[in-house]
């Protein structure tokens, strides 16, 4: 198991280097002269040339790549043109908000999706199965921004149950930063009122973000459960007198969780990408919103920084999924 974990860790590092190389390549084959973009439309040739040397853009591509990778190793993602602050610092400031949103949305997807998938499989073709089918098709089909706006209109504007947008009201002082996750920090500092408010704020964006993910977890889990429930060892467990609930919730679910986990890993990455839309709709101060506003002002370093960050979280999530796989399935541990 340890060698397995170690090997996965090595793969993680390798993939990270690959992503870094790829982002570098894409930014350099993209049309447009970055120095001219940085200098702005009214800059003279001299100014552009100065900037070119300053940013090292006059060096050859391999040289630039080595410098870029070296900077990355030191955790230097360059500077934002708009704010003139290190991108790393800004990304780290915005990342907790996004992670909090993604964690809550993912938890929602798993906690609702897995049991619903399980029940739809047990009562296949029953009323519940039909309802979840409609539910999951719309989950995948509805565009996030539209769905987000509809929810805002319904629950925030019309009913007034939940806030429209943001992480906390302007008047509320955020809790002392420990993890950066408001839900956790407010609990640590014992401010339950703040916890309650931030929970209210996160519900709508988390629901919007988790809906497609929930739908696909549900469908995968349902399909797997149907297959597993027909398998020989389930028949055997019944014949040996094991109670039905135990068979479904333990014996079958553990087997069905393997492909479901794979889906969870994939969806995690997809969710990180979708935060760009959801954060814009809900004005959520995360890295998605940061990337959008930077892109709109042609500020490229932050966009690359966010891309790398999302890639990093995605790989970490999938490594965790791989480890969970081995934890569940003894056959993989020896492989």
């Amino acid at each position: 198991m340890l060698t397995f974990a170690f090997r996965k860790l090595l793969t993680l590092v390798g993939t990270m280097i690959g992503i870094a190389a790829l982002t570098f390549l894409i930014t350099n084959v993209a049309p447009g002269d970055p120095a001219r973009l940085v200098a702005g439309p009214n800059a003279t040739e001299d100014m552009v040339a100065t900037i070119r040397t300053e940013y090292g853009l006059d060096k050859s591509l391999p040289e630039q790549f080595i410098v870029y990778m070296g900077d990355l190793m030191r955790g230097d993602l360059g500077q934002s043109i708009v704010t003139t602050r290190p991108v790393m610092e800004e990304v780290l400031r915005y990342a907790p908000a996004t992670l909090e949103l993604v964690f809550v949305a993912m938890a929602l997807g798993i906690v609702v999706g897995v049991p619903l998938g399980m029940l739809s499989a047990v009562y296949k073709d029953g009323p519940l199965d039909h309802v979840t089918r409609i539910f999951s098709i719309s989950g995948v089909a509805l565009p996030a921004f539209w769905f987000g706006i509809i929810l805002q209109l319904m629950f925030a504007v019309d009913l007034g149950w939940l806030p429209v947008s943001g992480r906390l009201p302007l008047v509320t002082r955020p809790p002392e930063t420990v993890t950066g996750l408001l839900l956790v920090d407010s609990l640590i500092s014992g401010r339950f009122q703040t916890f309650w408010t931030s929970l209210q704020h996160i519900i709508l964006p988390a629901v919007v973000l988790s809906f497609p993910c929930l739908a696909s977890i549900l469908r995968v889990n349902r399909a797997e459960m149907i297959e597993v429930l027909q398998s020989d060892y389930i028949v055997a467990a019944r014949a040996h007198g094991i109670a039905s609930f135990r068979i479904v919730a333990l014996y079958a679910l553990k087997n069905a969780m393997l492909p479901t986990l794979a889906m969870i890993g994939l969806r995690f990455g997809w969710m990180l990408g979708s935060t760009v839309l959801v954060e814009t709709v809900f004005d959520w101060p995360g890295i998605g919103l940061y990337a959008v506003s930077s892109a709109l002002s042609s500020d490229f370093k932050p966009v690359i920084g966010v891309t790398l960050m999302i890639g990093f979280f995605f790989i970490v999530a999938n490594t965790l999924v791989d480890l969970a796989y081995a934890w569940i399935d003894p056959r993989l541990r020896s492989a």
Partner: protein
């Protein structure tokens, strides 16, 4: 308590399908007394599995009892509620299954699975679940009872770490956990190797004696039934056509179907009455070896770097026109060898010489051309045909790939091929699911001979088929060889089948040839211990089934 333990009366069962109800069981009458051993023999589709699963209340979901009922120890169990079943299932009636590979949950340890069963029984009995340690002790006791070594180590192992025979013993231990009155054995030996089969049958026999078990065992293998069961019932198309003492049925079968079934069982002790091949025209070309393998090796490397040799340096030579047998148990490397001969698996080293030409270095087009002359027939015809292609498409496929024949010609050739394998021409419009197992295997053979190959490699071509169908396919293969002048490499784990049709045979064990020679010589005077053990184990069930011939 003097009544029968299990009493099945006029039991009729329908299964609802899209096309309306199918009558699966048509008035079954069976009685089993305490201490009885009853065998139910029948082929696939005869309804024997549905019958015994009904006894345990785990029959197909959409089934409906039309008439009659099942009484167990005086209690009517025909329509029990799921709650009442928990007091019977696994405790008073338990079951062991066909394939120990798939009937154990791969994600739980052996110990966990057995102690869960114990816990379930304690709960059902209303005693409250005993502590973990007590259940562990009981589990290890059960593992010991079924003859498994080192129970305390086994407790923490996962199914994939055990051999097939060990897994079947674990399943038997699980079935014994509730000290059942009645043990149902559903084809307990079918998926096992011959030597392991014999051991498992011995185990069941010893348990019957030691624990005074009542056993109902179903199998398509009349030999296995004869080794265990004193009484026997023959099932055919949802009916019991004959029942009585096993010895009587074997020596004096009354029903026509039983007679046919018995005649189809190959006898390991009978010399083959082979259909003579075309007088093997001494081919002018070379020494008459069509296919040669020289020091063929296949080494697999696992991710952790450990090397496993599946085939360790095998040399063989197949003469033109002969049936060359390869026999061995699972894991002996026979399938790997067969696939390497066709270069479906790339050998690690060694040469393959077909018709005087070394094909081990071939690639691309020349390899494709070479494959026209050598074709493969797979073990399981049910999975060897694409369910979405018609039979005509399946047979025409090699012609489309390998020749420039026109559509019309291909169709004509497909019809001719169906004719050769003795199937109606109209079958070309059918889909695989509309055909029986034997018919499907004929289609696979038709596909294999479509390009007029010179060599057919048959990998266990009959082991997925019923015994009577097996007999037909074997006869047919021999005829076909005579008609088309074919050479076969015939792989099987069934020694009686090998003896029936192979001219020369190699015996394989763990990737090596243990013994080789003329098939008859091999059976009459085996030189190696392993060959002897193999033949002895095979003889055990074969002889029981062929009681009639030996007595008379």
């Amino acid at each position: 308590m003097t009544g029968p333990l299990l009493d099945i009366r006029d039991y009729r069962l329908d299964i609802g399908t899209f096309d309306g109800p199918v009558h699966v069981l048509k008035g079954i009458n069976l009685t089993v007394n305490r201490g009885d051993t009853l065998g139910i023999v029948g082929e696939s589709g005869s309804g024997k599995t549905v019958l015994v699963r009904s006894v345990l209340g785990i029959g197909p979901k959409n089934s409906r009892v039309v008439e009659g009922g099942i009484t167990f120890d005086g209690q009517d169990i025909t329509r029990l509620s799921e709650k009442d079943w928990t007091k019977i299932r696994g405790i008073r009636i338990s079951m062991i299954f066909q394939d120990p590979m798939t009937y154990l949950n791969p994600l739980f340890t052996v110990g966990r699975q057995i102690s869960d069963v114990i816990a379930a029984h304690e709960k059902a009995a209303g005693q409250g679940v005993s502590p973990k340690a007590a259940r562990r002790a009981r589990t290890e006791e059960l593992l010991d009872q079924v003859g498994l070594p080192n129970p305390s180590m086994l407790f923490g192992q996962y199914p994939h770490q055990l051999s097939g025979g060990m897994r079947q013993r674990v399943l038997i231990a699980m079935a014994l956990a509730g000290k059942p009155d009645l043990l149902i054995a559903d084809e307990p030996t079918t998926a096992l190797d011959v030597t392991v089969q014999a051991q498992v049958l011995d185990l069941i026999n010893s348990l019957v004696e030691k624990l005074n078990l009542t056993v109902v065992m179903i199998s398509h293998d009349i030999g296995a039934i004869a080794t265990v069961a004193k009484r026997c019932a023959v099932m055919y198309r949802g009916e019991i056509v004959e029942q009585g003492l096993t010895a009587d049925i074997l020596s004096r079968p009354q029903h026509e179907y039983t007679r046919r079934l018995l005649a189809a069982v190959p006898d390991i002790d009978a010399a083959a009455a082979k259909i003579p091949a075309e007088p093997v025209a001494p081919e002018p070309a070379g020494p008459g070896a069509l296919l040669e393998a020289i020091d063929l090796r296949k080494i697999y490397r696992s991710q952790s770097g450990a090397e496993v040799a599946a085939v360790k340096g095998i040399s063989l030579s197949v003469r033109t026109g002969e049936i060359f047998g390869v026999v061995g148990e699972s894991g002996s490397g026979k399938s790997t060898l067969a696939r390497m001969l066709l270069r479906l698996i790339e050998p690690t080293s060694g040469d393959i010489i077909f018709d005087g030409r070394n094909i081990s270095g071939l690639a691309g087009e020349p390899l494709r051309q070479m494959r026209r002359h050598m074709q493969f027939v797979f073990q399981n015809p049910h999975s060897a045909l694409n369910g979405r292609h018609t039979i005509g498409d399946a047979i025409g496929e090699p012609l489309r790939i390998q020749t420039g024949m026109s559509r019309r010609d291909i169709e004509a050739r497909a019809e001719a091929l169906l004719d050769i394998v003795q199937l109606p021409k109209m079958f070309k419009y059918r889909y695989p699911h509309e055909l029986s197992g034997g018919q499907k295997q004929r289609v696979c053979i038709a596909r294999a001979i479509a390009l007029n190959p010179r060599l057919l490699i048959l990998d266990e071509p009959t082991s997925a088929l019923d015994i009577s169908v097996q007999a037909q396919v074997l006869d047919f293969l021999q005829q076909l060889r005579a008609e088309l002048n074919l050479t076969y490499v015939f792989i099987s784990h069934n020694l009686a089948v090998i003896r029936q049709i192979c001219d020369r045979t190699i015996v394989m064990k763990r990737g090596e040839i243990v013994e080789q020679g003329e098939t008859e010589r091999l059976f009459l005077s085996p030189q190696q211990d392993y060959t002897r053990t193999l033949i002895e184990s095979g003889r055990k069930t074969s002889r029981a089934a062929n009681l009639a011939d030996h007595a008379g």
